[in-house]
Subunit: 450 residues, 2 copies
């Protein structure tokens, strides 16, 4: 029986492209069907008028993300460190303070409260098996409450809890009320610990791509050539013991011996499957919502804050921006502040008009970095919840009860359907590195099956 390819891959993000690359390397033919007019999924580069590249999507690599560094090397991409010289800023209780190191001067009570909570989280996280979080010693109890209620009962200070909220927004693009304590612990373990997730130098925000992170996908796609088909939203997957037939919105159909679905779980749940998927799989994808983030960039003639001894990094009780980074290009040919609008703030800002969004974001920048920050040469933002083929970032989170009741269905292939995407990774779930792991695993599963 003649197929269009040995394996069809749904989604030309890093996960899907890596899967296709590995399968091709093993001599199988692939066909990658991508809904968008571009590859890269949640990675998206944008070239400013002066040919400076910014990442509207995922952008960082950090220590222990060996797969991501290896792929970057393999594809000839260049990394450079996120700027971290100088002091950071914190806007807390209406006052701006400068601080060195990773934690602002919260006062001794809040510092102790926050530090104790982080130590507890790290200690519990180590007990969560990455391939089976439901087997953690207190899995059911940890999955019965939210990170917010845990913090409410465990912590004593407003500022300490605010630190946990900032962590939640920065890492999950969600509020601590939205996911279970067990998911928080899994994710901390998956990313190598609290500091590994949150630090810039020595952590997940350490390095950036000169060419933009999307270049990972662009170069993989270039290798695959015509095997990648754009503008092909998959609407239906018919599957049987012998193979699959994948239909796109335009009515085109493609057959293969197996299919790898490499898109976020909530979008995978919108595809029609024939025969229908088992109840537990369908109910899983009803329960893995995406976080919400708007990345906001203000471009200045130069990184003027550096002249004042500032790193450009800031944490702020300043709605809608709670986190700011210096995102200038490696040669500092211009200065770029990157503000994150995440979780609840992203939902509110998603609904307001672009002009208002610009104004309130720049107001936060000005409160932190002075009036000069209010007048950038350019401003651009990107709302990932409005992107139809992502519908949120950075990734999916697991509300209470989901890991323990539905976790087993996350990676388990269903006949000739195999699941990929960073949400299916064990290490660095939610990150580029996790996407690569998932693509490699999915390719391996297909090779074993066929």
């Amino acid at each position: 029986m003649a197929h269009d390819a040995d394996v069809i891959v749904v989604g030309a993000g890093v996960a899907g492209l890596v899967a296709a690359q590995r399968l091709q390397a093993h001599g199988l033919t692939t066909l990658v069907l991508e809904a968008r007019e571009r590859v890269g999924g949640r990675l998206l580069r944008h070239t400013l008028s002066d040919s400076v590249v910014i990442d509207l999507g995922g952008q960082w690599l950090g220590p222990t993300q060996e797969r991501a560094y290896a792929l970057a090397r393999e594809l000839g991409l260049t990394l450079f460190p996120t700027y971290t010289e100088g002091e950071n800023l914190a806007l807390l209780g209406g006052r701006v303070q400068r601080y060195a190191g990773t934690v602002p001067k919260l006062g001794i009570g809040a510092l102790f409260d926050f530090g104790s909570a982080v130590a507890k989280l790290d200690r519990m996280a180590k007990q969560v098996p990455l391939d089976a979080p439901w087997n953690a010693p207190h899995a059911e109890a940890w999955d019965s409450e939210t990170l917010a209620s845990w913090a409410q009962h465990t912590m004593r200070t407003h500022l300490g809890r605010w630190g946990i909220r900032l962590f939640s927004e920065a890492v999950f693009a969600a509020e601590p009320s939205e996911f279970s304590l067990l998911h928080a612990l899994f994710y901390i373990h998956s990313g190598g610990g609290f500091e590994s997730l949150t630090n810039t130098r020595g952590g997940a925000q350490q390095d950036r791509f000169v060419e933009g992170a999307q270049s990972l996908a662009l170069r993989l796609a270039a290798q695959l050539g015509e095997r990648v088909r754009l503008n092909q939203p998959v609407v239906r997957i018919q599957h049987a013991a012998q193979g699959v037939c994948v239909a796109t919105r335009s009515g085109a159909t493609y057959t293969a011996r197996a299919v790898i679905v490499a898109i976020p779980p909530t979008l995978a749940g919108r595809i029609e499957y024939d025969p229908p998927l088992p109840a537990v799989r369908d109910q899983l994808t009803q329960r893995l919502p995406n976080g919400a983030v708007i990345k906001c960039f203000a471009v200045y003639d130069r990184p003027f804050w550096r002249e004042q001894g500032l790193s450009g990094f800031a944490v702020a009780e300043c709605d809608p921006v709670h986190l700011v980074f210096d995102n200038s290009p490696p040669d500092a040919s211009c200065g770029i502040l990157l503000g994150f609008v995440e979780g609840a703030q992203a939902r509110q800002m998603s609904a307001v008009d672009p002009e208002t969004r610009r104004t309130v974001v720049l107001e936060c920048f000005a409160r932190l970095f002075g009036e000069r920050a209010r007048q950038p040469e350019a401003y651009i933002d990107h709302d990932w919840s409005a992107e139809v083929w992502s519908r949120g970032c950075y990734g999916a989170h697991f509300p209470p009860g989901v890991w323990t009741q539905f976790g087993r269905a996350l990676r388990e292939p269903i006949g000739r359907i195999v699941w990929a995407g960073t949400e299916t990774a064990t290490r660095w779930m939610g990150y580029i590195d996790g996407a690569i792991e998932s693509g490699e695993r999915a390719a391996q599963e297909v090779l074993t099956t066929l």
Copy 2:
């Protein structure tokens, strides 16, 4: 411009059919597109070989559900009371005990614990505005934790907490870990209080339909005649200021001045909208999963338990069945025990083979009602999570953080798209009565808009 109808309704459940009926009564033309080969949605009658009708889906009405009683009267349907004579059974701690009234003999400590918790829930529930739960006095705190973590911190006894779990399974078909305290409180208020939700006589399980509850939908559909089209799964809704164009899987398209989407939120989220819906609406439907329930019926020559002074009602720590009702027909021409497999148990039982499911369910019946219960004349069960066009029952529940962050998007029309379905009701959300309320409101919104 000629349209196929003034208003298209997606979904021929009670909500959609009521909306269509009301619009027709106001002189508008409608077209009801139903994915299944039948009407009724989560209501489904089944005729046993001896012409006894059983409800595989929703089946009960109770006091204060005035809309449902009125519709039943209007359509000429006949109600009869759920059988409640005699004593109930409780299987707790490995022992079966008989009890009268609504609460088993838990021991004084557990009784007090459970009673206090219920009183607290009722008191807090009254403070939740039904049209805007996010405006409750402690909305953010109540939406930051699960019902399970609230019970963990508030209650002191294992049996008391087990009572809350039974409540959660019986009313939400979900575990108390899966939804927020705020949602539990909203739902309790929406259904008129804890006892109103849980009681048989005087509560939501009081009355049954002689003809089966699906007859509500069957008779409404008969009135609408050819305006109801079966086997028409809607895959895409194009919408503009002037009207809508609705496409079905077969490629047929229908135009109208407005559309009412009257299906569960998670399924509404799987339709493609053009232009795409606002981020907050899409993220809402990512976050409203359905509960899980398998209804299990064992049919005997007569309701033999009645001869022993038993009502047939039982609560049981006996996996997978935690709740049993006498579901015999009004003339008791045969005896029917109805066991509910809900929440976590439903997920596990969904995956096992039918023969095993039958065996373990009948084992529970036998432990409660004696060996005779192990040998029914017929056994039938129905897994609502496996139904492709429901994907769970009884309804959707709201995980932590959803009401406060996304609740406003639940009912708000988007241009010419109006939302219906029991999940959009303020009173008796999740019930037939709520479905009718939602259909009436949706019809009114369309009338106001056009």
